[in-house]
């Protein structure tokens, strides 16, 4: 339902003309629960206004500048969201350099518990 993408086709075109900024791959946790998914990423030093989370179906791209001494470049991570995710409910929170993105599953793919009734 969520696959990961590498460098997208847009940035590939740019790559030919100028060297891309150094790319950092932040460590990411991906969790699932019956209602949806949770993506957690370490983005130390990133402020909310610099963070970009773009949803360009089916791709969810997280990018942010990184400006540590000797480590400047961009944090970048791309995910491909399957059709089972409700795009309107994507919510993100950045706190102490940790980003949490909540994704809700669409009703059609949620697993349902079927209760067996006694006759």
């Amino acid at each position: 339902m969520i696959a990961e993408n590498g460098t997208g086709s847009a940035s590939r075109a740019i790559e030919k003309t100028r060297p891309a900024a150094r790319r950092f791959v932040p460590p990411v946790d991906i969790y699932e629960h019956p209602e949806g998914f949770l993506i957690v990423a370490d983005l130390p030093g990133v402020e909310a206004e610099d963070l970009s989370i773009e949803y360009n179906p089916p791709e969810l791209a997280v990018t942010a500048p990184r400006a540590e001494p000797g480590e400047s470049g961009v944090f970048e991570r791309r995910f491909e969201l399957g059709s089972g995710i409700e795009p309107s409910t994507i919510a993100a929170e950045l706190k102490a350099g940790v980003l949490r993105i909540e994704l809700k599953k669409s009703a059609a793919v949620r697993s349902r518990r079927i209760t067996v009734q006694a006759p």
């Binding site: 339902m1 969520i2 696959a3 990961e4 993408n5 590498g6 460098t7 086709s9 790559e15 790319r23 950092f24 791959v25 460590p27 990411v28 946790d29 991906i30 969790y31 699932e32 629960h33 019956p34 998914f37 949770l38 957690v40 990423a41 370490d42 983005l43 130390p44 030093g45 990133v46 402020e47 540590e68 001494p69 000797g70 480590e71 102490a96 350099g97 940790v98």
Partner: protein, 216 residues
Amino acid sequence: MRQPRADFGILIPLPKSGGVNIFSAVPDRRHWRRFRERYARLPSVEKSAFGLASKEVVMLSRWNDFGVLNRLAARESASPFEALDDLRREMNRLFFDFERSSAPEQGSGAWPRVSLQDTGPALLVRAEVPGLDPEQLEVNVDESTLTLKGAREDRVPDGYSVHRKERHAYTFTRAFSLPSKVDAEQVKAEIKHGILTITLPKAKSAQPRQISVSSS
């Protein structure tokens, strides 16, 4: 799990001979060890390390970092040489990302990443500690040593199952000998957006001085 012989390889199918492996770069032991430490927890990874050429991977393929062939296939009007060029770039990226993203390993003492700058009157230490609160950190300074201690908790949220786990809990102690004596009383530490900044003003004897030249 045993070290695979050519899991970084890419198999190009040919009609008669069955296939030819154009990249037979075997991961060296160091790579392999890191890889294994990192992914040992995911049971499905055992079957095929990178899942580049294999169709047997069940779960990992959903989270695959290395969709090289798919991306190449999607590229329009690529000449074979351009395609090889792309492939080489992708392979480089793959190794680069792998090296980088596996850098913060548990217990290796490499976490958090720390940098030190000399601003002239002071030393500036920055440590990347995403997710840490001030109370989870302990900073100790004497004249010429800085010690950072801390712990980061990392629990799987209740009711969630894990698909991918690259972030870890850390308990760390890092000690640095400073390049000049500092005034321990004046040291300030601040944490903001997951970055710990420690400003260590140099001791009087270590302060830069302007020497005036007098004419006789």
